[in-house]
């Protein structure tokens, strides 16, 4: 009776022309990842966002994209790394960031310029500025995390970004060991993205009838390129997490 190894070799040999190494799992590189500081998200992503890769956080308004990205930046700044926020539509709020634990001294904020003209033309100009700024920062290197905030940009403008741009960003992020987070309404980077998270608003975590105390969000992993596949274990396809209002902590204290 042939052993299992011999049998496997025999099958692989027979299928070699069509499927090389059909029954031998391909070796996977263990990617370094950085925690987001949100246990539910870290569990969903097997540790956090990958280092040196593009991660996309997508969803509509009030779906927790910005909170998630800022939580990740706050964690990176706690590790004494410098971060950058490329703000295509100038919507970043430093007060919220500081309340979330972000060290603002370690944050380089690029507010894309407001130009006069039609709204759609402005949006495209902002998008172009944001892409150029991201390119420069990735090429410069040394940043632990970089957020490209296109969350307020119309999706049709985002679809105009050529795939070659995302490919270049992916190469640069890999070379400089920078985690590039892209905030958008829908996935844009396609195959260049290592992780795609789809966010959605869930409900308000109201404990009081007079004060907004928090909000909970749904999260679904749309794509995880470097996730190890372990037979017999099915990962939860979605998760939920909650964020509290900044005054909630003061109340507890």
């Amino acid at each position: 009776m042939p052993s299992a190894t011999a049998l496997r070799l025999q099958i692989e040999h027979a299928l070699e022309r069509r499927f090389p190494a059909a029954l031998t799992p391909t070796p996977r590189t263990i990617r370094d990842c950085a925690a987001t500081g949100i246990p539910a998200v870290d569990k969903l992503l097997d540790g956090g966002f990958p280092v040196g890769a593009i991660s996309e956080i997508t969803g509509p308004a009030s779906s927790g994209r910005t909170s998630l990205a800022l939580s990740f930046l706050a964690q990176r700044s706690q590790e004494e790394r410098v971060c950058a926020w490329v703000d295509a539509d100038d919507t970043f709020d430093p007060e919220s960031a500081a309340a979330g634990g972000m060290d603002l001294q370690k944050l380089l904020w690029i507010r894309c310029r407001t130009t006069s003209g039609p709204a759609n033309t402005n949006s495209l100009a902002h998008l172009e500025q944001a892409l150029r700024a991201t390119d420069l920062l990735l090429q410069a290197g040394g940043f632990g995390a970089l957020v490209l905030d296109l969350a307020a940009a119309p999706p049709e403008n985002g679809y105009r970004i050529p795939l070659t741009t995302w490919f270049r960003f992916r190469q640069a992020a890999d070379r400089t060991r920078c985690s590039l987070l892209v905030l958008a309404r829908s996935p844009l980077a396609q195959s260049s993205a290592a992780v795609v998270l789809e966010c959605a608003p869930a409900c308000s975590a109201t404990r009081s009838q007079t004060v907004l105390t928090g909000y909970s969000y749904q999260l679904r992993s749309g794509r995880q390129r470097f996730a190890p596949t372990i037979s017999g274990e099915r990962k939860p396809p979605a998760s939920t997490w909650a964020a509290s209002a900044s005054w909630e902590r003061e109340k507890r204290a």
């Binding site: 500081g37 509509p60 308004a61 009030s62 779906s63 994209r65 910005t66 909170s67 800022l70 939580s71 706050a74 964690q75 706690q78 004494e80 790394r81 410098v82 100038d90 919507t91 970043f92 709020d93 430093p94 007060e95 919220s96 960031a97 979330g100 634990g101 603002l104 001294q105 380089l108 904020w109 690029i110 507010r111 894309c112 310029r113 500025q129 150029r132 700024a133 420069l136 920062l137 410069a140 290197g141 040394g142 940043f143 632990g144 969350a151 608003p201 308000s204 109201t206 007079t210 004060v211 907004l212 928090g214 909000y215 997490w241 909650a242 964020a243 509290s244 209002a245 900044s246 902590r249």
Partner: protein, 535 residues
């Protein structure tokens, strides 16, 4: 006896070495021309003449050998000089000469701290007291060679003479080219063939010597001193000693001022930044070389331009850490000029640098990766060119209760390494729970709000209608009522659903004051604004 011998040895050691006095004179002829030509190497092969005086009464005050060969002479008028083919005329620049003079003295001061400057006509001289420098720079010939090389690197062509007598060195350097070292007690022989015109003679003395047929210093030295004094007076004794190379001198040292400044006056106004940067590159080279000679770097670089029409242009470039990389500094300059171009052609350019400690940083083996400071400077300058000067940096929260107030500061990582060492043991406390984050609308979006019992129940933003499911507020905020930038608003935290089923959490602001509350009972069309969205 033994103790006496030891004492004798100690006395011998304690006795100071008796070094013979030694002077090196550095003579820079045609200094107005050299000052202008120093930063423009392309002019070295041209026939040049420098004009001074007010137009139209301008005369040639300095010229080079090529111009001499073409028949140019000192004192020639502009009209006469312009008639000579191939002669290039430049205007004398006092500022350029002043900058060149300080560089000339500073370069020489690297070889001896004791020096005396002298000026004769259009020539500049610097006499160094090089007594006791043999161990530092070798024999006088070697020192003179190194001195000449250093000055050539700074853009000066000089002649150098070394002598034990101050005046002998000065006269020999003025009359000869290259390097001359006068052996001890050979001063008279060395000066013998020099023309008597080198001495600063009074007109009547010059006439007398011409009558006597005295044309060289050797002939003057051969005259009997007593009879010479009897005929020409007491001053003749000084002249005789000068000719013999034996006149004593009380050294009056000056201190060379260290200022990193370069000046260039353009013949015609320059309107292209490339041309400007070409000149600036040479100036930066000189500044870097001078700073490096003192183990310093350039901490800041100030550009000052005089523009056509009398305007002035002033910009300062500050690298994150002091730098000596010429390409890097030039790139910063280029980006600064590109971001803020001069509004008129440039007539003159002055670069003034501030010296800083050398740019060496201690890197940690386990320290997190940081952007390379010099590269980050260039990147930020490029980002500012893309997004705007005040739209790139680190946000700093203002000490006020006004919502959304902050200011932008320059992003710098210079202090992060030190801060890392300081905070490594006590890291900042991270919040235990996640926070809701606002996305600010800049500017806020006006919305139409429907009210019921003074509480918003629905709002419309452009074409989208939202039904409010929960409204928390009003949270009244006001401040600075005593000044023009006061604010008075009420904020509402809103949870709403749009007609297409999308949920939104946002912040609505009503800037209406309480006096107008009656008018806003049902609808307010103008004062409600969508300030931010919770995301």
């Amino acid at each position: 006896m033994g103790s006496l011998r030891i004492l004798g040895k100690r006395e011998t050691r304690m006795k100071p070495e008796s070094n013979p006095q030694l002077y090196a004179c550095v003579h820079a002829p045609e200094f107005p021309l050299q000052a202008l030509r120093r930063l423009r190497p392309e002019l070295h092969s041209e026939a040049l003449a420098i004009l001074e005086g007010r137009p139209p009464i301008e005369t040639v005050c300095s010229l080079n050998t090529h111009a001499l060969k073409k028949g140019t002479t000192r004192g020639m008028t502009r009209l006469e000089a312009e008639s000579i083919d191939g002669l290039r005329l430049l205007a004398r620049s006092e500022e350029c000469e002043s900058a060149a003079r300080s560089i000339f003295l500073e370069s020489a001061a690297n070889f001896s701290p004791r020096m005396e400057a002298s000026c004769h006509g259009t020539s500049r001289s610097c006499i160094l007291d090089i007594t006791g420098t043999v161990r530092l720079f070798g024999p006088p010939e070697m020192l003179a060679e190194r001195l000449r090389t250093a000055l050539a690197a700074a853009g000066f062509r000089v002649s150098i003479a070394v002598s034990a007598n101050f005046h002998a060195a000065r006269l020999k350097a003025a009359a000869s080219r290259g390097i001359t070292v006068i052996p001890p007690a050979q001063e008279a022989a060395s000066l013998a063939r020099l023309p008597i015109a080198l001495l600063d003679l009074a007109p009547d003395h010059a006439e007398t010597f011409a009558t006597w047929g005295i044309q060289t210093l050797g002939a003057l030295a051969a005259l009997p001193p007593v009879e010479l004094i009897a005929r020409l007076g007491v001053h003749a004794e000084e002249l005789h000693h000068l000719a013999c190379g034996s006149l004593s001198h009380t050294f009056q040292p000056i201190e060379a001022e260290f200022s990193l400044k370069e000046f260039m006056d353009f013949e015609t106004p320059v309107d292209q930044s490339d041309s400007l940067l070409f000149v600036a590159a040479r100036m930066i080279d000189c500044l870097v070389a001078r700073a490096s000679a003192r183990a310093l770097s350039l901490a800041s670089l100030e550009m000052h331009m005089m523009l056509a029409g009398g305007q002035q242009y002033r910009r300062i470039v500050r690298p994150a850490i002091p730098a000596t990389d010429r390409k890097f500094l030039l790139k910063l300059l280029q980006l600064e000029i590109a971001a803020h171009p001069p509004q008129a052609p440039v007539q003159s350019l002055t670069l003034t640098a501030e010296a800083g400690q050398s740019s060496q940083m201690q890197l940690g083996l386990f320290a997190p990766q940081m952007p390379e400071p010099s590269r980050l400077d260039v990147t930020i300058a490029r980002l500012k060119a893309i997004a705007g000067e005040d739209r790139v940096g680190s946000p700093v929260l203002e000490d006020t209760h006004r919502p959304g107030s902050f200011r932008m500061e320059n992003f710098s990582i210079a202090g992060h390494a030190a801060q890392h060492a300081h905070t490594a043991s006590t890291p900042c406390a991270a919040p235990s729970t996640q926070r809701m984050v606002l996305r600010r609308m800049r500017p806020p979006v006006p919305v139409r709000v429907e009210l019921q019992a003074m509480k918003p129940v629905a709002f419309r933003e452009n074409e989208r209608c939202f039904k409010i499911t929960a409204a928390y507020g009003p949270w009244k905020t006001s401040g600075n009522w005593w000044s023009t930038d006061g604010w008075n608003a009420e904020e509402w935290d809103i949870l709403a659903e749009s007609t297409d089923g999308a949920s939104i959490a946002c912040l609505l602001v009503n800037s209406t004051e309480s006096d107008n509350a009656e008018a806003t009972l049902h609808y307010n069309l103008t004062n409600w604004q969508l300030e931010a969205i919770y995301d």
